[in-house]
Amino acid sequence: MEPLSEQLSSVLQQVTGYIYPNEVELHWGLLVVVYPYVTGLVAGAFILASLERVFNVKEVEPTYRLALLTALAFLLIAPFPLLLHLGHPERSFEIFLTPNLHSAMAMFGFVYAWYLMVVLLLEIWFDYRKDLVIWSRQERGLKRFIHRVLTLGATDISERAVEFDRKAVRFITVLGIPSAFLLHGYVGFIFGSVKANPWWSSVLIPIVFLFSAIVSGIAMVMILYLITGLLRQTLEMDCLDKLASFLFFALVVDFSLEILDFIHRLYEAEESIHILSQLISTRLFLSLVILQALLGTVLPLVSLVAFAPVFGKRALVSIPPELRRLLYLGAAVLIQIGIFSTRWNVVIGGQLFSKSLRGLTVYKLQLLGQEGFFVSAFLLIIPFVLLYIFIKILPPWKEAAAHALPEAESGD
């Protein structure tokens, strides 16, 4: 890893125009890109799960538990990019002990704790409780022990108790939807409320964040469902098609909001318009125009509208299911790349121009070091490992629960 002064010296060589001398160091790097990407996946996956429960969308039921576990796996990792980018991670608990109530960032701990403890863990627990009790009775060894511990001693699976679980899940889901909006809308607010930065300062940012979160969450669950479904040979095409149509509509709203933001800025043409145009046409051309807009949004939109049954039972162009699956996978992966680019363009893009509005700087991504590429890549891989473990402990498959049902009848 290059020493900081050498990094900054080479950045200084590449500055165009004038930037304030303190702006040579770019302060929020790749880790801060990872953070909204991860929370977006959490919020999006949860909202997808809620759709099934609140609006009773039967087709996507196979993804309900998978979506919840995905949300949990990513949520557990969410604080780490923030923690690692702090100058003094050992002091981070001060956010809980002496929060500055005027600070948007100070609320992170509370929003996070609320979402993790009250919403996600409770919902998963209530939803799995009956199965946990049944599994712990049928199994032997370590699994039995784990499932028994996870019941937290609540082993009553009488009809009344199970009915209570069902009601609790419903209640938490209803509470969870605004919470998911809060979690990610809040992340958008952290950026949108910075009046010093014309690229961030927009009331639309939290809403754009929210819809892009829903898009990324649905796409992620779609990828996971596709891969696990193919491996286990239990893929339901109806479910995939329904997911694809949700994905399409979320993408339409997301894209419309982004276009609105773009046109609004262009039409208002405030003093920052010149430097922002330069920013888009030079520094962000690849990540914004190519990756975010064309590959990450337009291409998936076009392919979904053409080949997926988004308006009713039939697609505009009918293709065999095998090909459609492949297309969904491609679209979902492109969307992930697009949404990651969106986060990059907000976080890094917002720091590539000077607040003097007179110059552009560059971001030099390091491979090694705390803020380097490998740490971020590691943080993005960990949730999949966690998810694998969760799936082993809490199988989200329909058969796993169904298999236990007959036994349940004879339970206490």
Partner: protein, 267 residues
């Protein structure tokens, strides 16, 4: 009194009489000395606080004036600031810096601040086509409604009662949100302490009745430090006799660094 009258009326030609008068004069001076010392001490205490020898922040509300037309771009202020406050010498960390604006007859504006202006500025290539050029010293504006203070998640950066925006480096978690929130680029992350850093108006000096280092060393008096509210302060006089502007007024941060003769191009 008689002696004095004698001095005026009678020419002092008797040496013994002169010696007596001197002795008398010195005796009176000695008698008056406790009063003189008292006056000096009271004056000193008044500059330091409200009479009890202790610094009372609530008695002050600091700001700075900058007369753009007086700045010659020598960079001594930025240099003195680094020395006084142990700011890293690398050209990426500044509590204060100088910008040079060059405006051509075509209306093109170019701004530069090589190493914050500490070594001065290279000559402009040609004076042909230059409409005007000037220097602008920059620093933390010690805003009355500072966005940096608003966003700090733990309250490590705060507005002191005497109107100075400060950072508690033993408390700062290094999240850098304040750096993002400052519209003036006045903050940086100290590469050694990993905490947010900024101009303190040389708080350690100001508390002891001195002016900030940059004000002290400015050879042309382009920087004026003082109390915003006190009528007797040089800053109030500066604000009274100049047309004043602040930077990025539209952001409603209410800066307390007041610029006189500021060009509209300065951002």
């Amino acid at each position: 009194m008689n002696t004095l009258v004698q001095i005026q009326t009678k020419p002092p030609n008797d040496p013994e009489q002169i010696a007596t008068e001197r002795r008398e004069f010195l005796r009176k001076c000695l008698m008056a000395s406790p009063f003189l010392v008292g006056i000096v001490r009271v004056a000193a205490q008044q500059t330091a606080g409200n009479g009890d020898g202790v610094y009372h922040p609530e008695d002050h509300y600091y700001g700075m004036g900058v007369d753009v037309s007086k700045c010659i771009g020598c960079g001594r202020c930025a240099d003195a600031c680094k020395t006084e406050n142990d700011v890293p010498r690398d050209p990426y960390y500044f509590r204060t810096w100088i910008e040079r604006y060059v405006i051509t007859t075509e209306g093109e504006v170019s701004v530069s601040s090589p190493n914050g202006g500490i070594e001065g500025f290279p000559a402009t290539v040609s004076e042909k086509g230059i409409l005007r050029t000037f220097f602008v010293p920059k620093l933390c504006n010690h805003c009355a409604s500072p966005p940096c203070v608003q966003v700090c998640p733990v309250g490590a950066t705060f507005l002191s009662r005497d109107g100075v925006v400060l950072v508690d480096k033993d408390y700062c978690i290094g999240c850098r949100y304040c750096i993002q929130a400052c519209p003036y680029g006045a903050r940086f992350l100290h590469p050694v302490t990993h905490t947010a850093e900024k101009c303190t108006f040389c708080y350690h000096r100001v508390r002891n009745g001195k002016v900030p280092a940059c004000v002290e060393v400015c050879p042309t008096g382009a920087r004026i430090f003082g109390d915003v509210r006190s009528m007797a302060s040089p800053l109030t006089r500066f604000r009274r006799f100049n047309e004043i502007q602040v930077l990025k007024a539209h952001l409603n941060t209410e800066p307390k660094v007041y610029y006189a003769n500021l060009d509209g191009e300065v951002s």
